[in-house]
């Protein structure tokens, strides 16, 4: 057999996604502007097919292209999660974009390419693959953020994201070059072997790489872009930003920390602990004064990334399992919340302030009930899914002896509960505003699945926990 063939089999999902993106681009270019719905529909089908392909793959670890690409249970879990987020957010975007007359076929193609970047990122086995995957994802996201080019807010969001993203890419590259310089290899396994004693150059490299990755997961102090970009980008784009790229960036964060730097754990543990505390606290306090629901969800996502990083700070298989469970539940809750935000439309116009939700319980009782369930879950009230997610990361932190981190985390989640519960109060106890327009069917479906999942997850948590546990062990 030709030496190139086995890796091609291993990258089949990526290959399908790349070819599909190119074919759909051609379809769009030939059929013109009218083909937006056709291309989006086909893109959803492709994403679903790739999701099934990823899940069908046997869980045997494969290393291809001289270690640039690693396929193991961990990458399978995170890829499936990122694909789920991308598919559902693309499904949710169709109706919204058609109503705002912003539906372009390039949007779906760019989502496909961004997802391809995420899959490369999740599977990255060396620093070059990491950087290329990250840039493929980020460049597509910059364009998607500014896709509504006639709106000042959308173009501002795109430009801001691009400038700050380029800065963070620069920091990441600088860190990667230092890591390469001080270990002599770009391969994660090679770095793990060479980086046994923390030298000054190595620590500098770790700090810069982690700064670049923190930007991508929007952890404090690299979070400044998040509220502005979330607010300015069209709402379906924000839903996409809040789910799939976060999963991919968190996955590569875990892989770099655990797989490439296992012998210098103490050096990066402090960084992660600081970033995690800062994100949790800022997410809890800064969201209180927000009036725009998208900004509120942006701060909420900053806080949630802080909670997820608590698990990484533990640096144990239990901690990584906690992060993965947290990301899965976070994606489910976020998709549901954004289904509600996308349904916030009055007389054909999208509205996005929190006051627009007032009295929702009387005008749309079921939507209010689902959103209330999601808010309780985001706040971490037992026995909802959000509570279990926090439980597993804090459990790992306590087992690793990080008592201070766990205590601050619990206190931050108590503060954070205030603004989630305020939304519930506005929906149930304030004077009703005018009713929203009827909700499209696909948003109803997403909202009910997400709501039911978060409320009833505690009845049967084992499958997700076991899958995450098995996947987490693959990293150690």
């Amino acid at each position: 057999m030709h030496p190139l063939l086995p890796p091609l089999g291993a990258v089949l999902p990526e290959l399908v996604l790349a070819l599909a993106a190119i074919v759909l681009l051609l379809v769009g270019a030939i059929r013109g502007e009218r083909s937006a719905n056709l291309v989006t529909g086909l893109a959803i089908a492709v994403l679903a097919a790739v999701f099934i392909l990823v899940l069908l793959k046997p869980a045997v670890p494969v290393v291809a292209f001289n270690g640039a690409l690693v396929i193991d249970p961990f990458s399978r879990f995170m890829k499936a999660l990122a694909l789920l987020g991308a598919t559902v957010s693309l499904i949710m975007s169709v109706d919204w974009l058609n109503r705002e007359q912003q539906n372009k076929f390039e949007y779906a193609v760019l989502v496909l390419i961004a997802t391809l970047g995420m899959m490369m990122l999740v599977s990255a086995g060396d620093l070059i693959a990491l950087y290329l995957g990250l840039e493929l994802m980020s460049l597509s996201l910059y364009v998607i953020a500014a896709i509504n080019r006639d709106s000042v807010r959308s173009t501002e969001a795109g430009l801001k994201y691009f400038v700050l993203g380029a800065l963070s890419s620069g920091m990441l590259l600088y860190g990667a070059s230092l890591l390469y310089g001080f270990t002599g290899t770009v391969n994660f396994e090679g770095i793990a072997k060479a980086a046994t004693t923390p030298t000054l150059g190595l620590i500098f490299g770790i700090v810069f790489v982690m700064a670049g990755l923190c930007f991508k997961v929007s952890a404090v102090p690299f979070h400044m872009w998040t509220p502005d970009v979330y607010e300015g980008a069209p709402t379906p784009v924000t839903a996409f930003f809040a789910t799939a790229p976060k999963v991919a960036a968190m996955a590569v964060f875990l892989r770099v920390a655990i797989e490439a730097l296992p012998n210098v754990t103490h050096q990066w543990q402090q960084i992660i602990a600081f970033v995690s505390i800062a994100s949790m606290v800022l997410g809890a306090f800064a969201a209180i004064g927000q009036k725009n629901i998208k900004r509120l969800l942006a701060y909420s996502s900053i806080g949630h990334m802080g909670f997820a990083l608590v698990g990484l700070a533990a640096a144990t298989p239990e901690g990584v399992r906690g992060v993965m469970v947290y990301m899965a539940i976070y994606v489910a809750m976020t998709l549901g919340s954004f289904a509600c935000v996308l349904a916030m439309r009055r007389n054909g116009r999208a509205v996005e302030t929190i006051d627009d939700l007032s009295g929702l319980a009387r005008t749309r009782p079921l939507m209010a009930l689902a959103l209330a369930g999601l808010m309780f879950s985001l706040a971490g009230i037992p026995p909802l899914a959000g509570f279990l997610a926090k439980y597993y990361v804090f459990l790992a932190a306590i087992q690793a002896g990080l008592y201070g981190l766990a205590v601050i985390g619990v206190l931050a989640s108590v503060v954070g509960a205030y603004y989630y519960l305020r939304i519930v109060k506005i929906m149930y106890f304030d004077e009703p505003a005018d009713a929203f327009d009827p909700m499209p069917g696909e948003l109803k479906a997403v909202l009910s699945v997400s709501g039911l999942f978060t409320v009833f997850y505690f009845l049967w948590p084992a499958p997700l926990i076991d899958a995450a546990g098995a996947a987490a062990r693959a990293l150690f």
């Binding site: 190139l4 890796p7 990258v11 790349a18 190119i22 681009l25 502007e33 291809a64 292209f65 001289n66 640039a68 690409l69 372009k104 390039e106 193609v109 760019l110 390419i113 391809l116 970047g117 490369m120 070059i128 693959a129 290329l132 995957g133 840039e135 493929l136 460049l139 597509s140 910059y142 364009v143 500014a146 896709i147 080019r149 795109g158 230092l178 310089g181 001080f182 002599g184 290899t185 030298t199 000054l200 150059g201």
Partner: protein, 203 residues
């Protein structure tokens, strides 16, 4: 002094002088032309150390594409360079400070790298094959060992292309475009109208 050394000093001298002229000349078009001279001399230096592929790529890409693009930008955008340069001296102290910090950091990094026993002697990732030009050698690794990165970089460029078109291309409805088939299919009958005008009546 050997011929190679003489050429090195020639190329290096012209390179540094033209690089200085890029920032010193008052006319922006002159700056771009000096930049081109700079690139060509750098390409000469590459060829002197035996990296002929890099040298030629530098000429093709930087002189052929990037510098021409710069020229277009300079000529088509009405940028007032005299105004831009005002306050240059005012920023000089900070600029020098930043430059010195960079220099110190570079010295520290290179110093600690050179002082480490294992790193400075680490073998090259890809061994050179003797008897091949470096164009062939680059091709050998680029399309085999690094094919994954090569294809990924291709996708990144595709995104750049899509992004530029999505964000800037506007289809204007009232633009008149040349339609060659319509032009060719025109007969004298369509184009001309012979009118007989009787005296004293007008049209």
């Amino acid at each position: 002094m050997s011929v190679a050394a003489a050429f090195f000093y020639l190329f290096a001298g012209v390179l540094v002088a033209s690089a200085f002229m890029v920032i010193a000349s008052r006319n922006p078009v002159h700056s771009v032309l000096f930049l081109i001279l700079c690139f060509v001399n750098a390409a000469g230096l590459f060829i002197l150390i035996g990296a002929e592929f890099l040298g030629l790529i530098l000429v093709v890409v930087y002189v052929g594409a990037v510098a021409v693009l710069f020229l277009f930008v300079v000529m088509m955008l009405d940028v007032d360079f005299v105004e831009l340069r005002q306050g240059f001296l005012q920023y000089l102290p900070i600029g020098v400070l930043v430059g010195l910090v960079f220099l110190a950091e570079l010295v520290l990094v290179v110093g600690s790298w050179a002082s480490s026993a294992t790193l400075a002697t680490a073998p090259a990732v890809t061994q050179a094959v003797s008897g091949l030009t470096n164009t062939q050698q680059l091709g050998r690794v680029l399309y085999t060992e690094y094919v994954y990165f090569f294809q990924a970089a291709g996708m990144v460029l595709l995104v750049a292309m899509i992004g530029a078109i999505v964000l800037t291309l506007r289809h204007k409805p009232n633009v008149k475009r040349q339609d060659i088939s319509a032009q060719v299919a025109r007969t004298p009958k369509d184009g001309m109208d012979v009118v007989k005008v009787r005296p004293g009546q007008g049209i």
